[in-house]
Amino acid sequence: MALSSARPLGVGVIGPGGAAQAIHLPALAGLAERFRVVHVAGPDARLAAGVAAGVGARHSLGEAALLADPAVDVVAICSPMEFHAAQAANACAAGKRAVLCEKPLATTAAEAARVVAASAASGTPVFAGTMHAHDPAYLAAQAHWAEPTDAVRLIRSVIRLPHNIHFERLATELSARAPATPDPTDPADPTDPVEPAPEPAAPPAAQILRGWILGLVVHVAPLLRRFVDGVDRVDVARLLKPYGYCVSFAARDARVQLIGYVHDSWRPSWTFSVVGARQELRVQFPPAYVRAGSAVAELRDAGGARRWGPFPHGAHTAIWSHIGDVLAGTAQARAAGADAAADLALALDLADAAAPVVRDGRW
């Protein structure tokens, strides 16, 4: 939906790393009538300047100048996850019109609560970057899910991906540093080329798994919450070699299986399935970063199968379009504010419940 004749919304990007360069700047470029990147800020002045120059924007060190910039209507937070909550709250306090915060919204429930409070106080909608919740094929298919929550028997998320750098290089020409090998101490994003914080020794298993949950499982948290209420009991939690996890938990009568496997080969596969008593939903998402369109979603029942997608606009274009629609007053915010915090809460609950299981080492 177009924004009529209003000027494009000014976007300020905090954290010009891989996600900003490879995902958000290309997505915003495809929505040039609605958005224009006007300011890029980060802790690395050279990187911020380089990225800003590429889109004709101002740049600054830190975030204060960006938040004070009246040309910035919407703030995109693409910094490392430990900074997300404070930056989102600050953006709300600065009176910005909207915030898109890369996932996870925060790293603790208390942080998330502060973001929600700041959002409510300022009236600034805060969207989490859980893009799959906005994928048009997924949205279309799940709208036809007709079964009650207690009919869900199985949810299975299997994410098999090459390292992120493989797709980042296909999505953009990255500015600044890009390590050639993955960083095994950063399980949430083992190949993030811009903001790694390497440690000399591998962290404990529970900490690595928490990183996976906040970095990768969190993608599907809104989808999980569409079909189950929460985490009743974690039965399986194991780290996989070389990088990955297998987690299985009970949620009422349903089993929820979450598998992530990051590998050195080339083939990506990102599926999300829901099995009910009468329906089965299967969604195949494209890998992140590359502009490969939407997912393909299929809903099966005894009468056959219906299919949605692939649509030309993928999830990241969809989330930015949605923000534009919300600010234009033509849509209600989806997966934002308290909803986004609830998505995060599910991920945090899962990480807490899985910690003793993965620590136990039992398979």
Binding site: V236, G244, A250, W266, V275, E280, W363
Partner: protein, 283 residues
């Protein structure tokens, strides 16, 4: 083929399974023919369905009557007596006991097995998910069949822990060789049978995708590696037919069956061991 067809006695206690196998045997007319109905004993081969109450007695009776082979099918590890019953089945020298398994005996699986074996050192995780029509097969039977599949392409699954089992299906974890294994089966909401088994390694991955196991639709068996993806030739034959061919080869040529009584006993034991039995939740 110079030998006469082997005569087969179906299992009158399980008409549905017998009907399925009769149809399959009709596609192997030079190898098998059905023994005349109403004449007990004397057949070369007995089909024995584990779905029948006294299936072990049926097997023993067939062997006493001189059967040269037994085709054992539909064994349910979820039944408390199965392990003990299996232990009581004799395996006299020269008699083949072939276990019918809808995935493990598929020729496409067996053809790929040596190639997969060459990659096993690189495999670090095995996971499979299957959908089966409601009431089609109990979870204990499905679990046996899936362990047989992993055995066929990788290694026997040991250290099994049943995570959940019930009317909705089953979920288990175990270890095959050095690889953790995670398997599950659920009731198919659309009534269509399908499944997949994935063997994942850092630089190579095998994906086996299956459809209805009673049909000859081919599984898709593919390997992704540095040089791209290679797909194994499609084999339009169901695993049940493959099992009957294996049985014929065992009787006429002494070839060991791909999945026999000892392997079945081991898989059932893995599924009924203490850890597997005590950790399960209802599903």
């Amino acid at each position: 083929m110079s030998t006469a067809p082997l005569t087969v006695r179906l299992d009158p206690g399980d008409p549905a399974t017998s009907a399925l196998h009769a149809e399959i045997l009709a596609s192997l007319p030079r190898s098998f023919r059905l023994a005349p109905a109403g004449q007990p004993g004397g057949a070369d081969v007995a089909l024995v369905s584990g779905a029948c109450r006294a299936w072990a007695d049926t097997a023993r009776a067939a062997l006493r009557a001189g059967a040269r082979a037994v085709m054992l099918t539909a064994v349910d590890a979820g039944h408390p007596d199965t392990a003990r019953t299996l232990a009581g089945i004799p395996s006299p020298a020269g008699v083949a006991v072939v276990v019918d398994s809808p995935w493990a005996q598929h020729p496409a699986v067996l053809d790929a097995a040596p190639l997969i074996a060459a990659d096993l050192g690189a495999v670090t995780f095995i996971t499979g998910a299957f959908r089966v029509p409601a009431g089609h097969r109990p979870p204990g039977r499905l679990a046996v069949e899936h362990l047989a599949l992993v055995r066929a392409v990788a290694a026997p699954v040991v250290e099994v822990r049943m995570i959940a089992v019930g009317d909705s299906g089953y979920e288990l974890v175990g270890t095959a060789g050095q690889s953790p294994v995670h398997l599950c089966a659920t009731v198919s909401p659309d009534g269509v049978e399908r499944g997949e088994l994935c063997l994942l390694g850092a630089d190579r991955q095998w994906d086996l995708t299956f459809g209805d196991t009673t049909l000859a639709g081919p599984p898709r068996v593919s390997r992704a590696g540095d040089d791209g993806e290679s797909v194994r030739p499609a084999v339009y034959e169901c695993a049940h037919r493959g099992a009957w061919r294996a049985l014929h080869a065992a009787v006429t040529g002494g070839a060991p069956p791909p999945y026999g009584l000892d392997a079945l006993r081991a898989d059932v034991a893995a599924l009924t061991g203490a850890a597997a039995a005590t950790a399960s939740a209802m599903w």
